[in-house]
């Protein structure tokens, strides 16, 4: 009998596992795949290492910073800043018709840039930044206010509003068109006020640290251990049954598999069915025979949009080429360059359209859209197509296969479960559908849910942990 079974060895599950194992709980993480990482895993193809999804780690704060999610989670996981090997970005840009805004990890520069391009909005932008800083993550009551409504009250220039939303939505919005103001604030801080960084060797650096820590503390990790179902008796989960029929018992279960997916495991779906997300992507990965900077492309991330409005929604066609994100993992301030150039280009995609294709048509569509995506990217970062030595591509179908997320919805359900509770008293959620996104956000989600529901922080029942945290805030 385990104290806790965690479903999924992604960032959130591993972080939660470390917390529990550190405080001597018997904990087992179940992972369906042979590799850990979930949404942020890595793989080898044709002799090369690839990250599954990572563009950049957001929420980056430099060594010595004591505030912010990165510093807080390092303390919670008992890790050193150097362990993640994070190297800051060189600089990114938001590129719209007739206007572009450059930004890096120094917010003052972004503020200047906005002031220069949109002088009439300079003061308003300051007010917006202040509102974002003041936003309290814990006050869930204002979390569901429309961010577009709030931001449009402060900033009148429609294009600037769209330009601010573009990176924030691409890097974390499960909702189409709009986001909650809470989510907007969290994303704004993580991208503009904190910033981008990446380990030289990619996401595996972070994952290897997490898994080593977890195992050193006595945690158990089972790979190829997909969960077939969760047995329920009344208001409690009693057993977790694996795909191979193995039955495991635990006092509590923490699932990072997603809300809809976890409900399905329980069989008896609740009366109000959660709405699955619709936002999915394709990504083309091009490996080049030289550094992108040698081809004149030195930006870390380019967020582009060509049309009058930034239309963040499930497209009608297989892919929407009107906007996208171009990331070059080379363009971080490394001590030495990566061995090869890489350009990753992401665009919105329609899961249903991809799913409807036959195997043959699917492959043909991948090839055709790969070419069109590169053509689209070339307008923003120069034409690198003659320098390509290897390629890979993922579609909404790939995302569904590897993450289990309905509709290939990378960012999960539009309506998050901030408190992590479910219809069962001993089943909790962490990860994407709990509400924090990004690598740091995902780890933070695991930590927060472990503290709140699985470690009896005070003396009694799990629920008192949250009260205990509030008690500490009041007195110290």
């Amino acid at each position: 009998m385990y104290d806790t079974i965690i479903i999924g060895a992604g960032m959130s599950g591993l972080a939660a596992g470390i917390r529990l194992a550190h405080f001597d709980r018997r904990v087992c993480i179940l992972e369906r795949h042979t590799a850990i990482g979930g949404l942020n895993s890595y793989y080898r193809l044709g002799g090369r290492n690839y990250d599954v999804g990572l563009h950049a780690v957001t929420n980056f704060t430099p060594k010595g910073a004591r505030k912010g999610p990165l510093a807080r989670l390092l303390r919670q996981l008992r890790l050193r800043w150097d362990d993640f090997g994070l190297v800051p970005q060189l600089g990114s840009v938001i590129s719209f018709p007739g206007a572009s805004l450059r930004f890096n990890n120094d917010f003052a520069q972004f503020e200047n840039e906005v002031g220069e391009r949109f002088p009439h909005e300079k003061d308003n932008f300051r007010r917006l930044a202040a509102a974002v800083v003041d936003y309290d993550d814990l006050s869930e009551s204002t979390a569901s206010v429309s961010a577009r409504a709030v931001v449009s009250e402060i900033i009148k220039d429609r294009q600037l509003v769209e330009m601010l939303f573009c990176p924030l939505m691409y890097y974390g919005s499960a909702r189409e068109h709009d986001m909650d103001f809470g989510q907007f604030s969290v994303m704004f801080r993580s991208i503009f006020l904190e910033g981008f960084a990446r380990p030289w060797a990619g996401v595996r650096v972070i994952l290897k640290h997490l898994v080593r820590k977890f195992k050193t503390l006595g945690g158990e990790l089972r790979l190829r251990a997909g969960v077939q179902r969760i047995d329920v008796d009344g208001e409690r989960a009693t057993r977790v049954v694996l795909d191979d029929g193995t039955e495991l018992e635990a006092q509590r279960v923490l699932s990072s598999a997603g809300l809809v997916e976890t409900m399905r495991m329980c069989g008896n779906e609740p009366a109000v069915k959660p709405l699955p997300g619709q936002v999915s992507f394709v990504e083309s990965i091009s490996v080049l025979d030289r550094q992108p900077a040698e081809l004149g492309h030195d930006r870390t991330i380019v967020f582009f949009n060509d049309s009058e409005r930034f239309d963040y929604r499930k497209p009608d066609d297989l892919v929407d080429l009107r906007s996208g994100v171009i990331c070059s993992p080379n363009n971080f301030a490394y001590a030495e360059p990566l061995a090869e150039g890489v350009v990753r280009t992401t665009a919105l995609a329609n899961f249903d359209r991809w799913r409807a294709l036959s195997a043959e048509a699917y492959q043909a569509a991948k090839d055709a859209w790969f070419a069109r995506i590169l053509e689209s990217a070339a307008r923003h970062v120069g034409d690198f197509r003659a320098r390509i030595v290897a390629t890979d591509m993922f579609t909404p179908i790939t995302i569904k296969r590897f993450t289990g997320h309905e509709n290939g919805a990378v960012y999960g359900v539009p309506r998050k479960v901030f408190d992590g509770t479910t219809h069962l008293k001993n089943l909790f959620l962490c990860g994407t559908d709990q509400g924090f996104v990004g690598i740091i956000g995902a780890m933070f989600s695991g930590i927060a849910m472990a503290n709140r529901h699985l470690l009896n922080v005070a003396t009694g029942e799990p629920d008192t942990a949250a009260a205990a945290e509030l008690a500490v805030q009041d007195v110290l």
Binding site: R66, V457, A468, A471
Partner: protein
């Protein structure tokens, strides 16, 4: 344990929580929150580490005693005087 030994225990816990911090300049009577910018999650971790290592239970009402190193050691001294350092 003597108060000096208890202080070493608390320092060891703090070092575990914030391995990047240089704790040599920690001032005994200034709030830890100010000096290290510890948040509520960190204070709960101090409580949990004390329970994990020495089975010392600190009720919620007493959390205020953990504000400074000095107050922490004074508060823990009667609770830990009969314990051996591990």
């Amino acid at each position: 344990m003597t108060p000096e030994e208890i202080k070493v225990v608390v320092l060891d816990i703090l070092e575990g929580i914030a391995p990047d911090e240089d704790l040599s300049g920690l001032v005994d009577d200034v709030p830890l929150r100010e000096q290290l910018e510890l948040d509520s999650m960190d204070f709960l971790d101090i409580v949990m580490e004390l329970r994990k290592r020495y089975r010392v239970q600190i009720p919620e009402d007493d959390y205020i005693e953990l504000a400074t190193m000095q107050s922490t050691v004074s508060y823990l001294t009667p609770l830990m005087k009969d314990l051996q350092k591990v």
